[in-house]
């Protein structure tokens, strides 16, 4: 047999094997007809353990297959919406960032939670996270984990934690004068983190970005005050020169590397500090998120599980989602991966005490936390805001505010060009 002929034979065999695989993959049936539930979620180290427990508990009713999305939120959203827009039946349970609910619900890409499923998803769940899974009064997801940013500081450098952005700048100036690490890290890069910061400072000033219906721009005098506070902070001694390029992870690294004296960040930094720099941990303390005249409104984050409209096994997908976010799963996520639970009772679990010493601070912050605006065009609104505010040191409060008003109004109608 000639080489070419052999290669052709090989190719034909590969093609045949590929075709043979197709029907099985398309039918979504696993061994012995167990329906496969495809979970798409952001990377989370111990999620596989949570999935494994749920698969055992399912006793053959379904089998969850874990698929990991990209690390950054934009990459996650892009993959999900691209496939949902193409009516891809290969997605069943979707791990959603709290800001995507309105967009996916309005596009009818995710199913409403009703009846017994909705009752179970609501039972014992904290109010703020539950609200992020709701759009126009209907429930579209089951809250999995919540998140609030806190102020993290090194008590060896900063004996009394600052309560406002102004106090942070003053403390930094004092440290700088003594030649000590003095940066106060904040997510100032042109991305969602900058919107998170802006939203919290506006809320701390008593305002909001959009009206409660999510259809009109609010902003106004509180936004003007917020812009001034952010501009002044970005020009103060507390500002890392990398501030216009700082994301959550670079903030954490600056703190662990000893460049920074404090940071505002999510609680995952505590577990990270314990693992990477145990000698700094005894001095690594937390305090409420800074505000303008006193403690501020923390940014509210987190993730919820939704069921795709194109899922071929919706009933199993709802059950799988409920198991993935039940108290046992949430405790695993909290203890092993540092993700704050959405079920209040989990915070009282004795296993939480050691890895989660800041749990009361999280519960307190959740009471005043500032959710981001709810609108189906959140992506447009967010991109517009981060472009208008970047770099924060160049903000000219009245001019920037006028620009924000005009561009957010366009973004809400999905008109105009996205930067």
């Amino acid at each position: 047999m000639s080489r070419a002929a052999r290669r052709r034979r090989g190719a034909a065999a590969a093609l045949a094997a590929g075709t043979a695989l197709l029907p099985a993959a398309c039918a979504g049936g696993g061994q012995a007809g167990v329906p496969l539930v495809n979970l798409y979620n952001a990377p989370q180290e111990n999620l596989a353990a949570i999935v494994a427990r749920c698969n055992t508990e399912a006793r053959g009713r379904y089998r969850i297959v874990l698929n990991t999305l990209p690390r950054d939120a934009d990459g996650q959203r892009e993959q999900l919406v691209r496939r949902l827009a193409a009516a891809d039946p290969g997605l069943d349970v979707l791990g959603l960032d709290v800001t995507w609910t309105a967009e996916l619900a309005e596009a009818r890409w995710i199913r409403e939670w009703t009846g017994e499923h909705a009752r179970q998803a609501r039972a014992g769940t904290l109010a703020k996270p539950l609200d992020t899974a709701t759009w126009r009064g209907r429930l579209y997801a089951a809250p999995y984990n919540t998140n609030v940013q806190l102020l993290w500081y090194r008590s060896d450098l900063v004996p009394r934690p600052p309560r406002t952005w102004g106090e942070m700048a003053a403390v930094a100036a004092g440290l700088a004068a003594r030649g000590l690490p003095h940066y106060g890290e904040v997510t100032g890069a042109q991305y969602e983190g900058l919107v998170v910061w802006f939203n919290s400072v506006v809320a701390s000033a008593g305002g909001r970005i959009l009206d409660p219906g999510g259809t009109r721009v609010a902003l106004g005098p509180p936004a003007l005050e917020a812009l001034t506070v952010m501009r002044d902070y970005a020009r103060s001694k507390a500002a890392d020169p990398s501030l216009p390029n700082t994301q959550e992870d670079s903030a954490r690294l600056a703190m662990e590397g000893g460049r920074a004296a404090f940071e505002v960040n999510w609680p995952f930094v505590y577990a990270s500090m314990a693992a990477n720099k145990p000698d700094l941990l005894p001095h690594f303390k937390w305090a409420p998120y800074p505000g303008i005249h006193g403690p501020g409104a923390s940014p509210l984050g987190g993730a919820n599980f939704a069921v795709s409209a194109y899922s071929e096994h919706p009933e199993q997908a709802f059950q799988a989602a409920l198991c993935l976010r039940d108290p046992v799963s949430q405790r695993t996520a909290a203890v092993k991966d540092g993700l704050p639970p959405t079920i209040e009772a989990v915070y009282r679990d004795p296993a939480m005490a050691e890895p989660y010493p800041m749990r009361q601070a999280i519960l307190d912050a959740l009471k005043t936390a500032a959710p981001r605006p709810k609108t189906p065009t959140y992506q447009n609104v967010s991109t517009t805001i981060s472009a208008a505010l970047s770099p924060p040191a160049s903000i000219v409060p009245p001019v920037t505010l006028a620009k924000l008003r005009e561009q957010i109004a366009l973004a809400l109608r999905s008109q105009g060009v996205l930067p």
């Binding site: 596009a107 042109q190 447009n380 105009g416 060009v417 996205l418």
Partner: protein
């Protein structure tokens, strides 16, 4: 091939030609389907209001997407940034590429080694190389950032960030330019250079009076290829800044509107405008400067 003049084709030649056309047909058809249809489709999309999140609002709106894009500050900023990156990077690449081409062509010892070393940047995946540059310029992790004064973060400022994008682009594609130019060098007859040298021409005179005029077709083709490529720059910008601080190229803008914003109308409008610009560049090169397509008679 000069079959074009033949009126005296024999029956056999005509049959052969028919067969030839039939054999080409499947390939030509596939080309039309995979390149022609997407272009037509994006033109059609650019005439509609079409946001994937609001399927009910889909409507034909004529040219208003074009009005929106062409009156947008964001688009024009991206356009001028792209043009700047294109002109500066292609100019630098031409000079460096010419030097490298000479080095590769004239080297007596270690020719294989020189050619291999020169081509390494071209062989590295752009995204991987771009991450290398990104980390190198990030304070705290980078060796290049460490050379700068304390407290500078070049990727966070517009001017330096664009300079770094150009640097990454030049580093990456100069070998390609050098390869194309080396092919042009090979067509300069050795006797001509020797004759010029006997007539007393200096090295510089031989370069400007003999080599350059003979290489002009190759240079123009190299410039055309690189300009078209550079105008569509995406991966370096995507990794290094993702368009923040006004450093986005037109392709980055189109991507953000299409994929991030799910706005098929505006995004397609941008894609069509990029296609039109690229076509204009090609026409200017071919008609204005007389660039000939490689392999043609001119």
């Amino acid at each position: 091939m000069n079959g074009g003049k033949g009126r005296a084709l024999t029956e056999g030649q005509r049959a052969e030609r028919r067969l030839g056309l039939w054999l080409c047909a499947p390939a030509a058809l596939i080309m039309v389907v995979v390149t022609g249809w997407p272009i037509v489709y994006s033109v059609l999309l650019s005439l509609q209001r079409y946001d994937l999140r609001f399927p009910e609002d889909k409507a034909w709106i004529g040219l208003s997407n074009y009005a929106t894009v062409l009156t947008s500050e964001v688009w024009w900023n991206a356009f001028w940034v792209t043009l700047l990156i294109t002109v500066v990077s292609v100019a630098i690449e031409l000079v460096l590429g010419m030097l490298l081409a000479f080095a590769m062509y004239r080297a007596i010892v270690g020719r294989g080694l020189i050619r291999t070393v020169v081509l390494i940047p071209y062989g590295i995946v752009t995204v991987a190389a771009a991450y290398g540059w990104k980390y190198a310029w990030t304070p705290g992790t980078g060796w290049l950032a460490g050379l700068l004064p304390e407290g500078s973060a070049p990727l966070t400022e517009r001017g330096p960030a664009i300079a770094i994008i150009i640097l990454a682009e030049v580093w990456k594609t100069t070998p390609f330019m050098a390869l194309l130019l080396m092919a042009g060098l090979a067509v300069v007859p050795e006797e001509l250079l020797r004759a010029a040298s006997v007539d007393g021409a200096t090295l510089w005179q031989r370069f400007t009076r003999v080599t350059l005029p003979l290489m002009k077709p190759a240079i123009l083709v190299a410039l055309l290829f690189r300009t078209l490529d550079a105008f569509r720059i995406f991966d370096n910008v995507y990794v290094l800044t993702n368009g923040s601080q006004g450093t986005g190229s037109v392709s980055i803008s189109a991507y953000h509107n299409l994929i991030g914003g799910l706005n098929l109308g505006i995004g397609s409008t941008m894609s069509v405008l990029i296609l039109v610009t690229v076509a204009i560049i090609a026409v200017v090169f071919i008609i204005g400067f007389g660039t000939a397509a490689p392999g043609s008679e001119r």
